[in-house]
């Protein structure tokens, strides 16, 4: 069974379609990147995936069951889209443990997972007595990504995870995502403006433009330079 199945998914604001995907399937264990310019509909898609907004039409199914109005997918999904996913009056440590508790993990299990992310989190987050609200944007981003991954989800949804990160952290998180995907077979859906980040790790790249899927590429069979050319043409 496919991990995610989308049928006639539409999101409309006024007369304008922000998202219009007739049909799409994502296989289990795939690492799918969503690319597109600003306003392409990437975040709208991810918000619909997490049932944070209501679709105008169609539906999304995770493991065969509809997402809208249901809860079954929450147990297996880790996600981070923006600061709304952070409990900002907790310290990062407290937030990780709390998130772990919600997923039924004890402190030891969370600690074991956190050890994997120790380098990514760095000294600025590890053991620092700061509330999340007082961290820099980059560090908040790190906390959000780690909190989504620390619970070992079957499905991971991240929106622009490379934004605000320093170059070293971008490399580390790319490696961590790839390693987790290969080791545990986590299905990942990651959006990004930056094609370079995705080409290195993704087994599939979906190009969105004005809410529509304009390219659906499976490297290495498909040449991702095609996407690059598409953006260059758009820029002209």
């Amino acid at each position: 069974m496919e991990a995610i199945r989308i049928e006639n998914l539409k999101k409309q604001y006024g007369d304008q379609f922000t998202l219009d995907i007739p049909s799409l399937e994502i296989t289990p264990g795939s690492l799918t990147g969503i690319v597109g310019n600003n306003g392409a509909g990437k975040t709208t898609w991810l918000r619909l995936m997490l049932d944070l907004i209501e679709a105008t039409g169609g539906d999304i199914r995770i493991q065969g069951k509809p997402v809208a109005g249901s809860e079954h997918w929450k147990k297996i999904t880790g996600s981070f889209l923006d600061e709304g996913f952070l409990i900002d009056f907790l310290t990062p440590e407290e937030f990780f443990y709390f998130t772990g508790k919600v997923y039924g993990m004890d402190k030891k299990a969370v600690d074991e997972q956190l050890a994997i992310f120790a380098r990514f989190l760095g000294d600025e987050i590890n053991g620092t007595n700061k509330y999340i609200r007082n961290l820099s944007t980059g560090n908040k981003q790190k906390v959000g990504i780690v909190a989504a991954m620390v619970v070992r989800p079957e499905l991971l949804i991240l929106d622009e995870p490379f934004n605000y990160l320093d170059p070293s952290s971008q490399i580390i998180i790319r490696k961590l995502l790839k390693a987790d995907n290969e080791a545990r077979g986590t299905t990942m859906l990651i959006s990004s403006h930056n094609l370079n980040h995705l080409t290195e790790i993704c087994s599939r790249v979906i190009l969105l433009e004005k809410g529509k899927v304009v390219k659906d590429l499976h490297p290495p069979q498909d040449d991702l330079a095609e996407v690059d050319r598409y953006f260059s043409l758009q820029a002209e």
Binding site: T77, G84, F89, T91, V102, Y103
Partner: protein, 493 residues
């Protein structure tokens, strides 16, 4: 300064407040006019009341004897309610805007606070009837003197509330002063009243010293506040203020250990203690426990049921204030809640138990002190506790589903443009007015005044407590149904 003024106006005009329903704004205006009218009428009839109570003295002299009490009450009110103006500071720090200018601007804006003028709704008609017939100058001098006294209170409050460091710590400065005032009032009431009368008469006679001293106090406090504000700017910017001492976390862990609800209670406690606005309300509990018995001590054997509406504010403890913003406290991370396995029914129930428990913890010492101070209030207070934690909490939790106030945890202010919505206003109004229904039912019971109110409030409250699972389930369902709408309100546009 012109730029700051323009930005303030734009900030006000573009605030969420103006996105709310016109009907509710109209209702707020009507209630505002009603309160103003009530105060004006009170001022008009005050000379007659005073002439009856103190027939051997002209009404204005009797009034002046009470000036100290009026302004002490005004100060207490301001300490709890008056907020410094909400001002964006950080954005200007990197611009060529002088800190001194910014501090002065905040101070000037603070003078527009309604707290500086509400007393004049009583004073103007009162002085018109009592002083104007004596001399026009006396009327104007008395108004100027009263304004200076209000100015002292205003300056004290602004000084305390804008000083660097925690507000609660700053309030401690005032405690010895308050203790001395209370002691003086209790030991030498006659002398205090006489001094107060002399001050009022000095105002009316245009005694220069009577104006110079309060004016000097106001100017000094304003200068201190300006300096404090400029230092506070550094503190607000400074990295060191961002580091926190999480303490031992014993209470967090204590709440976390409870089965079923521990997870939610731990988070609720952390939210309460780490959110400046929420913890500000929480810190008022000790003051309430001391202040309320004092109030009832001075009230004596009056018909206390007349003040039943006051009990609504007090009896539920922290919960009555806090739950007016139910779910808004979580507004900044509601996306997280919506995407995790959180049962809304259990989530709201945990909230209800937590705040009922907290209210009970406040009630116990309060009842204990009241047993010595004014035992007749005990039963009424206990009954009202059930009433507030029953139907009123149910109403607040239900109304919260409609409340779209997005709370910034770093802001202290609650009754400002950001925090005041039509829904919130209506919620408080209905909560207070519901007492009328209680009084009507109590009127038909064959018992004496406090007993019948106690019976009605206790029975209503306990019924709501017994059936709490049922009404909370309805609220949770309503919440889930409105999920998308609520989430979009809570999210940054």
């Amino acid at each position: 300064m012109k730029m700051l003024l323009r930005h303030t106006w734009l900030g006000f005009r573009r605030s969420h407040y103006f996105e709310r329903s016109m009907g509710l704004k109209l209702l707020m205006l009507i209630v505002g006019f009603f309160i103003a009218g009530y105060l004006l009428l009170f001022g008009l009839f005050l000379p007659l009341i005073l002439a009856n109570v103190f027939p051997d003295r002209p009404p204005h002299e009797s009034f002046f004897s009470l000036l100290w009490l009026i302004y002490a009450g005004d100060l207490m009110l301001r300490l709890f309610m008056q907020k410094p103006p909400k001002q964006l500071v950080q954005a200007y720090m990197g611009l060529p805007v002088k800190r001194r200018m910014l501090a002065r601007f905040i101070l000037v804006r603070s003078w527009f606070s309604l707290y500086n003028y509400y007393l004049f709704l009583i004073l103007v008609p009162f002085y018109l009837r009592t002083l104007l017939p004596i001399s026009g100058a006396a009327f104007w001098y008395a108004l100027l003197g009263s304004f200076l006294l209000a100015g002292i209170n205003h300056s004290i409050v602004m000084w305390i509330k804008t000083r660097p460091g925690g507000q609660a710590k700053n309030l401690l400065f005032l405690l010895p002063l308050a203790a001395i005032m209370v002691l003086l009032g209790a030991l030498y009431p006659e002398k205090l009243m006489d001094a107060s009368r002399q001050l009022g008469l000095a105002f009316t006679s245009g005694d220069t010293l009577a104006f110079i001293i309060p004016a000097a106090i106001v100017i000094s406090l304003q200068a201190l506040t300006s300096r404090g504000l400029q230092r506070a700017f550094y503190e607000w910017q400074g990295e060191e203020s961002l580091y926190i001492h999480t303490g031992t976390g014993r209470l967090d862990r204590f709440f976390g250990r409870f089965p079923e609800y521990g997870l939610y209670w731990e988070l609720e406690w952390q939210l309460l203690t780490r959110n400046r606005r929420a913890s500000g309300v929480l810190k008022q509990i000790p003051f309430t426990i001391i202040g309320i018995p004092l109030l009832f001590y001075f009230m004596g054997d009056e018909d206390i049921t007349t003040y039943t509406y006051l009990f609504v504010l007090i009896a539920g403890g922290h919960g009555f204030n806090y739950l007016q913003y139910a779910y808004s406290w979580e507004s900044r991370y509601f996306d997280w809640i919506a995407t995790r396995q959180i049962d809304m029914h259990k989530f709201i129930r945990a909230k209800y138990y937590f705040h009922t428990g907290l209210g009970f913890l406040q009630l116990l010492p309060l009842l204990l002190i009241l047993a010595f101070v004014n035992p007749t209030v005990i039963w009424l207070m206990a009954g009202m506790f059930f009433y507030v934690t029953g139907p009123i909490f149910a109403f607040l939790l239900n109304a919260g589903v409609k409340n779209s106030t997005r709370i910034d945890p770093n802001k202290r202010a609650s009754f400002n443009m950001e925090g005041t919505s039509g829904t919130l206003f209506l919620t408080i109004l209905v909560s207070m007015l519901s007492v009328i229904a209680v009084m009507i039912v109590a009127f038909f019971l064959p018992f004496s005044s406090p007993v019948n109110v106690f019976i009605v409030t206790t029975i209503t409250g306990i019924l709501f407590m017994i059936f709490h699972r049922s009404w909370i389930r309805t609220i949770a369902l309503r919440f889930t149904k409105q999920k998308y709408n609520l989430l979009s309100k809570y999210r940054e546009k």
